[in-house]
């Protein structure tokens, strides 16, 4: 006798601890196999782009900081200010450019640490979470000493940074840099020494190179699928053209490759931080820019490599002291779109592992 079978629809979210935000996944299952996974988003939509049209260029720094990805506030400020400064012909002094580079790389490490910790936690490796947050706590202290904020800094300003680094701060960062590679080894031992972890991530959630490009995946997700593209190398901004670093890529395109790429990125970030401290020039940290700065008419698309990928700002100015239109090209939005491709054909138990490696932040997706 033939058994009657049917596909099962499974709702994951909008409230689910592993979505790290408010995401609803509608998963179609054939037995244990994922036939389709459709993300439903918009739960955190606050129309930051509309709000930015009503605030001045200086006020918008705070909005870029808060309204987008809350784990990479500095990277958001950078993307926004890059568009503003390039359109307005505003140049930051050399010391500010190097401080920004330094801060952005520290931000990358701290963001990747949250990713690694929460992903490990999702997979049942709670220890990794505690270890990662131990180091992240130190980084937040460093951020707090330099900028006054722990998550939302509003540190970058049109024409530079808000204030110079406090005395002795770079020494504390160097101390952190000395210890951090040892900690990375620690996380690595905890995870890759664990056969259960490896079985859950190796060969799982494969995204091919063609699919990655076609679906607009970016950042570590695309690089783990063999797309050797990093905005910092291709279109250098701030001091990235003057520092040495490697862009890790992988061909496998699976969860493990995405893990390896992000781990190597943290090592490279330490390298950049060291070079930035070594070469930090003296001088001013901010050029004089009027508070209600007006930008000339025109339009620009500035792109940066945020920890999550290709973060771009498309800015249209009509000559006023506020943007006429500002579009944020969010990396999480692009990577979440590629998620269904990563999930199709895998088991329902792999959903969490795959979702974790996409490293999405829902406030970035929804804006």
């Amino acid at each position: 006798m033939a058994l009657r079978t049917e596909e099962l629809m499974l709702n994951m979210g909008p409230q689910h601890p592993s979505t790290h935000g408010v995401l609803r996944l509608l998963i179609t299952l054939d037995g244990e196999n994922i036939v389709d996974a459709k993300p439903y988003i918009g739960y955190l939509h606050s129309s930051v782009e509309k709000m930015m049209e009503q605030r001045t260029y200086l006020q918008n720094v705070a909005l870029a900081d808060r309204g987008l990805d809350y784990l990479t506030a500095l990277a958001n400020e950078e993307a926004y200010l890059l568009a503003v400064e390039r359109l307005g012909g505003i140049e930051a002094p050399p010391r500010a450019r190097w401080i920004r580079t330094l801060m952005l790389e520290l931000q990358r490490i701290s963001s990747h640490l949250v990713w690694l910790g929460t992903w490990g936690n999702d997979l049942g490796a709670t220890t990794v979470f505690l270890y990662c947050f131990r180091e992240r706590e130190r980084m937040m202290d460093l951020f707090e000493q330099a900028t006054g904020g722990r998550l939302h800094y509003v540190y970058f300003r049109p024409g530079g940074v808000a204030q110079d680094l406090p005395a002795g701060w770079t020494d504390r960062v160097l101390e952190f840099c000395d210890e951090f590679p040892g900690h990375l080894q620690e996380y690595n031992d905890l995870l890759t020494g664990n056969p259960i972890f490896l079985a859950r991530v190796q060969g799982v959630g494969v995204l091919s190179k063609d699919a990655a490009v076609g679906m607009g995946a970016c950042g570590p997700v695309a690089r783990a699928s063999g797309v050797p593209f990093d905005v910092r190398k291709a279109f250098p901004y701030e001091a990235y053209g003057e520092v040495e670093f490697d862009v890790p890529t992988h061909d496998a395109g699976d969860c493990f490759a995405r893990y390896l790429v992000r781990m190597e990125e943290m090592r490279q970030s330490v390298r950049i931080v060291r070079q930035a401290i070594e070469r930090l020039p003296d001088g001013e940290v901010r050029t004089k820019v009027p508070v209600a700065v007006k930008l000339p008419r025109g339009e620009i698309y500035a792109r940066t490599e945020s920890p999550r990928g290709d973060l771009g700002v498309y800015l249209v100015s009509e000559g006023a002291d506020r943007p006429y239109r500002l579009k944020v090209r969010a990396p999480s939005f692009a990577n979440l779109y590629a998620l269904s491709e990563m999930m199709r054909g895998w088991k329902v138990a792999d959903v969490i592992a795959i979702l974790g490696t996409a490293d999405i932040v829902l406030s970035d997706v929804d804006r």
Partner: protein
Amino acid sequence: MSWELIEHLEARFPEVEPFPRGEPSSAEEPPAHKHDAAKAPVHHVPGAVVPAGRLLEICHALRDEAPFLLDYCSFVTGVDRPEAGQIEVVYHLFSMIAHHELLLKVRVPRDDPRVPSVSGIWSAANWHERETYDLFGIAFDGHPDLRRIMMTDDWVGHPLRKDYVYEDPQWLVDLVTQRRHEAGSS
């Protein structure tokens, strides 16, 4: 390199209208933010305005033909221009092979904004077009799944249009009235 790309595009499709190329600013000029408001807009990213009817053909060529090879669609969005009665649909294309970029613009009337969907050419455009449909009300003909993505399905209006005025949805008004009533009667 990228402005050369526009010349190639114009040679291949004479009906496209390249963005005006800004004069490179010289060192003697004051910084751009001390600008003259009457000056023509400066386009920092090379691009062209494309007629809606030719969009799909041009996009196919841009993706597949050398020297364009623009295999990556970064975003699709809109810019509302009420004074011109138009909405500009903006496409940013990028080549992962040659590392060059291009902006395409299609101007559509505000009262009936329609463009063909490019999601069949770049899958990545799928969600970006949905977002543009949601926030600007532009209909993408041939889109496989044209639904709102940010706002709820029953939302009225398109928030990123310049004349959009926010109103509380009816269910929220009802809920608040009911809560007030309950608080008053207890």
